[in-house]
């Protein structure tokens, strides 16, 4: 056995994140780790990373008991990690991030950039990963950042590689690329722990599966013995009710949002589309094609160079997020740490950030009605199933999926006529995802228009009326969902050239 964890318990004040969990990993296998949001997956991984000390339990590496006191120890023992969030240092370029913490090659005491770049390029070639290494990482799209993180992890020649939801907001092809890398690593005898909420991925890549529920291990089984329904049963403790497809519902003719010939300083060119009342318009595109930039532009966060925007027939001038909110546009952003939530504030304080002026006392303007705030917060926590002890828990103490639920909750608490969801289901478990779909459909039936950006093409086919494809900062095509196929959408996104699919 390469790695064994026995009886691991981790208690946080008021929360038992893990309770007497056993876990094991063989050399050359992929062990999938699955479970609902807040089940304890990331906590287990953080223990291996030396970022969190277990309250109880033992860890063995190749039969020898080890104690992982710090991240340095973890790395020196051969662990490498791709974290759920925030694994890169902003301000540094990709190449600097990849080799950080180790000796950069030097010549006469000065960093030898040519050598460093060469090492980076070799690494890219070896694992067949294409990404720009010179840009500061904060300018990269999430996919590009994920690729940098993968290169960083691989460059350490790990014996055990841990991937915590690496495919959130990756498209299928990119996911497949990742799986090819994983397969080649297996051949080198590397043990891999793979966390994901996508069961399809688990069936593609895993050899064995460990399932956590409420901090306890409820099952461990080889892939051959698993079925999808069974895994869902283990994960949720109940069967899942899938919501009904939007299919028959039609949106209305009235134009909610018209974007005409829009060009921006962020490189968007000639954007033309219309969003109707009650319509759900999907946007698909590969990484870095301008989806998020378009969302940010409509939110008033990018300078518009040319073109116009009309809301319900009226030409508007959106020059700041405040202005966009006033016009009834609400964005649920993709990058939750940068744009969505404030880690140091509580759930309640985050949720009400955009509606502060709505929750003041009528007779005492400027003074917050904290009772009202609490009531609203509990309503959202119930609706979206946010797992936390109470509304005062700080965001930084929530699991990744629960943070994402707060981002969504914060958006939908605000009244709007147009919602823009940028990768809304990233990090959500199976059940939560279905709940979000249901919510979007409900909004649509109420006549609220939505733009849903997603790299999960199946998701778009489930909920949208039309799908718009973006490439190179412009719109390639807009197709009614019922009249197209994922094959067609993908081939447009790759530039009408099917050979890569």
């Amino acid at each position: 056995m390469l790695l064994e964890m026995r009886n691991i318990t981790k208690k946080y004040p008021g929360v038992i994140a893990l309770y007497k969990v056993d876990f094991e990993l063989r050399a050359g296998e992929v062990m999938a780790l699955i479970g609902q949001n807040g089940a304890g997956k990331t906590t287990l991984v953080k223990i291996l990373a030396g970022a969190v000390r277990p309250s109880e339990g033992e860890i063995f590496l190749k039969g020898k008991r080890i104690s992982i006191k710090s991240p340095e120890v973890a790395y020196s023992l051969g662990f490498s990690f791709i974290y759920q969030e925030g694994g890169l240092i902003n301000g540094l370029s990709g190449i600097e991030n990849i080799f950080i913490g180790r000796h950069y090659p030097k010549r006469r005491g000065i960093i030898n950039w040519r050598e460093l770049t060469k090492n980076g390029e070799e690494l890219k070639k070896r694992f067949n990963i294409e990404v720009e290494l010179k840009k500061p990482v904060e300018h990269l799209s999430p996919l590009e950042r994920k690729k940098i993180e993968i290169l960083k992890a691989l460059s350490r020649e790990p014996k055990i590689l841990v991937l915590d939801e690496p495919t959130a907001s990756l498209t299928k092809r990119e996911t497949d690329q990742l799986f090819n890398i994983i397969k080649s690593l297996k051949k080198h005898g590397i043990g891999i722990i793979y966390i994901s909420h996508f069961l399809d991925e688990v069936f593609k890549v895993a050899d064995r599966i460990t399932i956590l529920r409420d901090g306890k291990r409820v099952a461990m089984l080889p892939l051959e013995k698993a079925t999808k329904d069974m895994l869902i049963m283990y994960e949720l403790g109940e069967e899942i009710k899938t919501f009904k497809n939007i299919g028959s519902q039609q949106f209305q003719k009235e134009k909610a949002l018209e974007v005409i010939n829009l060009s921006t300083s962020s490189g968007l060119k000639n954007i033309n589309f219309t969003l109707h009342r009650g319509e759900i318009l999907g946007i698909f595109g590969l990484g870095g094609q301008g989806k998020t930039r378009l969302a940010m532009t409509l939110m008033g966060n990018e300078a518009i160079l040319d073109g116009e925007i009309k809301i319900y027939g009226v030409k508007v001038n959106i020059s700041s997020p405040m202005g966009a909110l006033k016009k009834g546009i609400v964005l649920i952003p993709q990058d939750r740490t940068k744009h969505g939530i404030i880690e140091e504030l509580s759930i309640a304080q985050n949720l009400t950030l955009p509606i502060l002026s709505k929750i003041v006392y009528k007779k005492l303007p400027l003074v917050l009605n904290l009772k009202e705030e609490k009531k609203l917060t509990y309503k959202i926590m119930r609706e979206l199933n946010i797992k936390a002890k109470n509304h005062r828990i700080l965001i930084k103490n929530l699991s990744g999926g629960n943070k994402q639920k707060v981002v969504i909750g914060k958006g939908i608490l605000k009244k709007a006529c147009i919602f823009i969801f940028d990768e809304p289901t990233q990090g959500l478990d199976i059940k939560a995802r279905e709940e979000v779909y249901e919510h979007l459909i409900r909004l649509s039936n109420k006549g609220i228009s939505q733009i849903v950006i997603s790299s999960d093409i199946d998701e778009l086919f489930k909920i949208t009326h039309r799908i718009m494809v973006m490439k190179d900062g412009t719109i390639k095509n807009i197709l009614p969902t019922k009249e197209t196929t994922s094959h067609e959408i993908l081939s447009i996104s790759y530039g009408g050239n099917n050979e890569h699919i």
Partner: protein, 306 residues
């Protein structure tokens, strides 16, 4: 264990108090001395409440000492020249607010780091103060009716102490229960998120600097009244001490954030140390050294990141 981590600073405060009481049982733990300590920290606490807001929004305002010095000489100067004392006070407070607004505008509109911007305005304000006073202290001609603010008492409690508690409670209320206070914490935690949530970040920052300027000018006025004179560098000592109080205060309650009562406790710890060590005849430079050491211990023990 957890209790120590959470309330370590308060526990330390109690121990320091008990310690001095044991060493100087006759002089230290008396109600007269307690009132004395509170008076000694009153002005520091008032000016530090402004610094608390500034630290919450993750900025610095290095001009508070300069503004308070100017506040003192301006108020005194106006009165000496025959301006009604209330009008003189009002004008001084308005000037304090204006200086704060200027700081805020430079920081938010011109996008200059607040550390550098207020370092510069601090120097400018210091220059104006010397120009106005020609470097000399104002003492003759200050009306007696003005001295009551710094030297008077109501029911045995010094008036500066009453002002301190008033401002403390207002700041605490604003920070905990109002839209404005919430916006301060939001901007400190994530300015980009706050902006995307529709908060006017620039305006809110300007308001914080304006309040900081207001409290600094008010502190200067009280100081002039208490001393009966106004010196162009009278407020100089407040800069480091007020930020020390704020940082110490961040360790007082649960979450490691700057807050009104925390700052008060921070100032109180420094006041008790100064008072107790003076009673025990420990030289003042040793007091300063001890204060510095305590701040570092408190921040490290609590793991507060600034």
């Amino acid at each position: 264990m957890n209790i120590f981590k959470k309330y370590g600073t308060l526990i330390a405060l109690v121990f320091i108090y008990i310690g001095f009481s044991l060493f100087a049982p006759k002089t230290f733990p008396t109600s007269r001395n307690l009132i004395n300590i509170l008076l000694q920290i009153s002005l520091l606490t008032i000016i530090s409440q402004g610094a608390t807001l500034i630290v919450i929004i993750k900025d610095f305002d290095l001009s508070i000492a300069a503004i308070s010095s100017l506040g003192g000489v301006l108020a005194a100067g106006l009165m000496v020249n025959g301006v009604n004392i209330y009008i003189a006070i009002l004008i001084t407070l308005i000037i304090g607010v204006i200086m704060g607004i200027v700081n805020g505008l430079i920081v938010s509109k011109l996008n200059i780091s607040s550390f550098i911007a207020t370092l510069a305005t601090s120097t400018i304000i210091g220059g104006i103060t010397f120009w106005y006073t020609q470097g000399s202290t104002i003492f003759s001609g200050i009306p007696d009716s003005f001295l009551i603010f710094g030297q008077g008492k109501i029911w045995g409690i010094p008036i500066p102490t009453i002002f301190m508690f008033l401002i403390l409670i207002i700041t605490w209320f604003v920070l905990s229960y109002t839209e404005l206070g919430r916006k301060f914490y939001a901007i400190g935690g994530g300015p980009e998120v706050a902006r995307l949530s529709g908060i006017n970040v620039d305006k809110t920052r300007v308001i914080a600097f304006a309040i900081s300027g207001l409290f600094a000018a008010f502190t200067g006025i009280l100081l002039a009244s208490r001393l009966g004179s106004a010196h162009p560098t009278a407020g100089g000592g407040y800069l480091l001490k007020s930020y020390a109080a704020v940082f110490l205060g961040m360790t007082v309650f649960g979450e490691g954030k700057a807050n009104a009562f925390g700052t008060f406790v921070g100032a109180l710890i420094m006041g008790i140390l100064a008072n107790g060590l003076t009673i025990l005849d420990v030289p003042y430079y040793f007091q300063d050294m001890l204060t510095g050491v305590i701040i570092i211990i408190a921040l490290v023990a609590k793991g507060v990141k600034i």
